[in-house]
Amino acid sequence: MATLFGVPLQALSGQLLLGLINGSFYAILSLGLAVIFGLLNIINFAHGAQYMMGAFVAWMLLNYAGVGYWPALLIAPVFVGLSGVLLERVLIARLYKLDHLYGLLLTFGVALIVQGLFRNHFGASGLPYAIPAELSGGHRLPFMFLPTYRGWVVVASLAVCLATWLAIEKTKLGAYLRAATENPALVQAFGVNVPLLLTLTYGFGVALAGFAGVLAAPVLSVNPNMGADIIIVVFAVVVIGGMGSILGAIVTGFGLGVVEGLVKVFYPEGSATVIFVIMALVLLVKPAGLFGRTA
């Protein structure tokens, strides 16, 4: 059997696929951050908490209202998005004239509040959320056993990323968004309701986080801290990608997922830090990030 550094190639291709699955979460989360950052110039520290909310809302829908996975996949992001709309209207909108760092601090505070509230109400050990019956089981690929749900995660996140990209690049609303990212004052002077656009964009970016949360609920522990650590990794992903483009966020997200997956095979102890190390290296060579625009 062919091997690479002592690892059978077949096993390696399995690991690459798993990395891609993990990258799916990075991609959706960093995409949401990029969309929000592009227009609002705010690093949304609450993104991890909103990701967690997505998972919890799915759980609540199931346990309080009997609403299953598939409707939740739609309803939970909408709900999280609406909470984002409220947050933007009530709090964030007051900060646009200030230094961008205040946005970071505010959303950090919001993240603490949301996490605390969920911890108070649901405890910290987590809640069960089953894989939907339609997606349980798996397929035996030539090189690995692929659980159907994992395959679905990749497909769903690729689809959402692609749809988001198309919506931004090809639709009227996307054109408003791109234009407002470049010159909000002018777009406003054309009669476009830019404040509303900001609100909707924030809501949408947050809804993406919520969507990732629902996707994660059946495979990861649904607990109030689930977003706290991943968000820091996603920040590093974003620094590496450089926030230059929507496509950049998606590509870097998936790419780093794969890289991390490989490290899990060759040096598992390093898998928690590999993305940070890559970030340091990228900063040395290309401070603006891989897809970043310089200044």
């Binding site: 054109a175 408003y176 234009a179 010159n183 406003q188 002077a189 009669g191 476009v192 309701n193």
Partner: protein
């Protein structure tokens, strides 16, 4: 000539002003730039703001459309006081704005740039009519907005506000940095728009050009209106004007 344009006839010069600016003060960052600008523009009129660089012409336009950080005084459009309105509502009163340096969006294609501003009033030109007016734009509809030549960008900037149905146009130095042949084409366009009943407030440095399109010239210096010269009297006042413009 697009037929929709023929629907509206120029309003007599004695009509109430379409745009009225009174005692307008404005700040650009820390510096107080406008110190009480005041003038009227009647329906169907083409008025230019002349003045040397830094006199406050662009700032006046920005204050009218509402994208200046701080402004005070009075700006009425069709009798509606707009000084406290956000710019998007001012635009909805039927005001179209072409900024300095044109404001073409790099991340949008030509067609997207063209269709970007929403319709604020009925009766705007259709895309087809705009392409008839500026055939270049149709040819390059798919390319990136900022990949156009300066002249084409200017056409795009003017074309896109014709779609919106706005009848009061604020144009900031449409001829800036353009080759004479393009300047001429823009002049023709503006004269055509005037005959179609558009009201235009134009910021210009190039008064030779302004002369070919305007009814009146409002001269601004140090953030104040210091003179108003009817177009017919322009040549007679050439000496004075050259002093104003610091030539």
């Amino acid at each position: 000539m697009p037929e929709a344009l023929l629907a509206e006839r120029p309003v007599p010069a004695s009509a109430a002003p379409l745009l009225s600016v009174d005692d307008l003060e404005g700040w650009y960052g820390e510096s107080h730039v406008l110190h009480g600008v005041g003038f009227d523009v009647k329906p169907g009129e083409v008025v230019t703001l002349l003045g040397r660089n830094g006199a406050g012409k662009t700032t006046t336009l920005r204050a009218i459309i509402g994208i200046l950080g701080r402004r005070r005084g009075s700006v009425t459009v069709k009798g509606v006081e707009a000084i406290a309105m956000p710019s998007r509502l001012i635009a909805r009163l039927g005001v179209g704005y072409v900024p300095e340096e044109r404001g073409i969006f790099a991340s949008l294609t030509v067609a997207e740039n063209l269709t970007l501003p929403p319709q604020v009033k009925p009766g705007g030109l259709t895309l087809k009519q705009i392409y008839e007016l500026f055939p270049n734009l149709e040819e390059r509809a798919g390319s990136q907005g900022t990949k156009l030549s300066g002249g084409e960008q200017q056409m795009l900037a003017i074309g896109r506000i014709l779609r919106t149905g706005a009848k009061l146009l604020l144009l900031d130095e449409p001829t800036e940095g353009l080759a004479p042949v393009i300047v001429e084409q823009i002049g023709r366009t503006l004269r055509m728009l005037k005959t179609e009943g558009f009201t235009i407030l134009l910021v210009e440095q190039n008064f030779r050009f302004a002369q070919t399109v305007a009814d009146r010239h409002v001269v601004i210096e140090q953030g104040r209106v210091i003179d108003t010269i009817p177009n017919a009297d322009l040549d007679a006042n050439l000496g004075k004007l050259k002093t104003y413009l610091g030539v």
